[in-house]
Symmetry: D2
Subunit: 227 residues, 4 copies
């Protein structure tokens, strides 16, 4: 019996506290929805804890990271408030083998830019457009169990050029109602760690309630753990 | 003064002879339009010749290949009529350093499947949809001088999953009015040769008259030559 | 309880029958040593069968392939005797998701060249030199449990240039006493299938009795199964 | 007539000033030898300037970078003395399209680690061993005009594991008399910029006087310029 994967869900947890509209979608925070989804989809195979920006060390002490197999990261409004010392620590953990799943606006987080070395800039437009998430690598573990395409009725548009190094594995490409495309599901390997970036998910839409999006994130957690 | 690149434009040249509609778009064959475009865009830097299926050895004798720096390939209706011996010869030439630019339905040509080792299958639908060709690697030589995106008013849809090995360089991703996406601009390196696949172009639409499409093909010829 | 991986060990099985020296190293064939090693190292997680060139359809009927999760391939003296129809069938199985582990001189097999599209040529010298197999991707599943480097006292030298497409993942690089280097542990993904090439192993040396070499092959079988 | 490539050779320039042994090899600094080599090999195609650590802004002001097409980087003893502000500036320049050629112990420079996101650690031993530099990608522009292998009589050993992201293109692999291997010629693409890392070269050996090493660096400068 293998021990459970230890997952830490990190959420900036700012929009949910400051916006009524966001709180209606995520009354207990996006992290709560993700935690519930992982527990439901992966069952005894995972043990989930949550960490947020306003905790001491943002909940990411050396001890916490030492007991984390995979860290998920959502941030947007407060990237700059993440302490450089914590970023150093998370980077070291990833290079040492911890998995990292970066979500949506986390593309601009310090830790993602640190690990990739590029600006991680992209095009965007927030008009609630339909996003289609197409699998381009159907044998990839992260793409198992989702339809072709995943249909997300309303989303912020993220478009190319996405300034990242060429991904080590490209799993998903999104299109938007406006015609844009985006490499929204990308694997990177850095040091001994595995990194997955997944673009769907914005505080203004109920994307993390979407069952296919939850399935991808659950798959990504397992993949990032090297399981 | 470097010597000119020697380009051979290969065209199956079947649809133009059998369909009035196609002939109206390409009265002298698609190869004639491509030859004119390369001569116009690259000038003295290239010397263009044409070869077609119905010529002896499909116009691709050992001598012809020995004098070719880059070969472009368009085929659709008659892939199976290409002699295996000629495919062997073209494969050897590519591995020896000849560039190859494979266009549109050439994804199912014997030579492309031979060099890639996969089925090269894809999804398609021919309803004259708008295609947008997005650059994802803006520093790539093949992407120079074209708008973001290239707009093609009417095209056959090609969609994922495209069963190819992960490209060595991914330059363009297309979206279609129906929402599909396609890795339509892909570089592969095989042996000493460079291969570029570019999906726009169908006999039913005037795509090879499109100035941006012509620009991409001219850029690809120079890139594939290793110039 | 997951069902066991179904592994088919394919061996040309010619040298062992025609050379006393080889028979002394592998009295029941190299396949017997590999089958024993996989059974010992992977236990109930695998079910191993063996197939050889001289069987009907080389032991690789459609039925046999349909019941194979991972195929290992060793050939050298009789590559040309493998029927093209069987190669077609194995290629289709790999593209459909069967794993393939190609060993040593299998680099020149029809199936490896078919799947990669290149000549797969290399430099070689058979003087029983020491080979060191260095891990360059220490987090890769195939590199788990082996020393840095693996030391093989006597081996045929395989050297660069190895005419393969850039591997999707490079796991091992060998050096030889004569100073040559070789990308001897390479992963490729084609269609839905995973391919691993591993260069150690020659009929003239007891390489497949080497515990670290056996460990790598066992790891590769699990990796190629997508397990 | 294209304008000349503007190359800035950056050298920490510490060992040459503090060690008699190093000064005997490089009386005017390693930068002087590299500058002379580039001027000799590339002629009117380049215009070379030099910058060193002890200059204001280490000679890398915004103005200097704006007039640099390719920057080469050698550092060892004083990586930590490079100002973070200058590293920010160089990173931005690379992402904006400036080429970067990182030499030998520059693997531990702030700028290289910043752009790659990993520790860039490696194994090493300084015993004046013979290094052989093998080309594994013979069609690559950086590998043109050098023998297979390049023989360097005495060098510091650099060995795997080299903690870098998988290179976008792997051009050279070195072996050392002690049997180690090293991915010593690696291309990375970040933003619009091209980066080449080349491991030969140590202050204790006359490696930058070696004609093949000079040829590689000249080739790399042209490649990194996107020329």
């Amino acid at each position: 019996m293998p021990r459970p994967l230890r997952v830490t869900i990190w959420n900036e947890y700012v929009h949910e506290l400051t916006s009524d509209a966001v709180r209606r979608l995520y009354p207990e925070g996006m992290h709560a929805v993700l935690a519930e989804a992982l527990a439901r989809l992966l069952g005894d195979a995972v043990r989930v804890r949550v960490a947020t920006l306003n905790q001491p060390d943002h909940g990411l002490t050396s001890e916490a990271l030492a007991e984390t197999d995979v860290l998920t990261w959502w941030g947007h409004a407060a990237h700059e408030d993440v302490a450089d010392e914590v970023v150093d620590r998370v980077q070291a953990a990833v290079l040492g083998g911890m998995g990292l799943v970066v979500l949506h606006s986390g593309h601009y987080s310090k830790i993602f830019k640190r690990l990739l070395g590029t600006s991680c800039s992209l095009q965007w437009r927030n008009e609630g457009e339909r996003e289609l998430v197409w699998t381009v690598d159907p044998a990839h573990p992260i793409a198992q169990g989702v339809p072709q395409p995943i249909v997300i009725e309303a989303q912020e548009m993220y478009g190319e050029v996405f300034d990242i190094p060429a991904p080590d594995e490209l799993v998903f490409i999104s299109s938007f109602a406006g015609g844009e495309v985006f490499r929204g599901g990308c694997c990177f390997r850095r040091g001994r760690g595995r990194i997955f970036y997944f673009s769907p998910g914005d505080q203004d839409y109920p994307v993390y309630h979407h069952p296919d999006v939850q399935r991808v994130i659950a798959n990504a957690v397992r993949w990032a753990a090297g399981a």
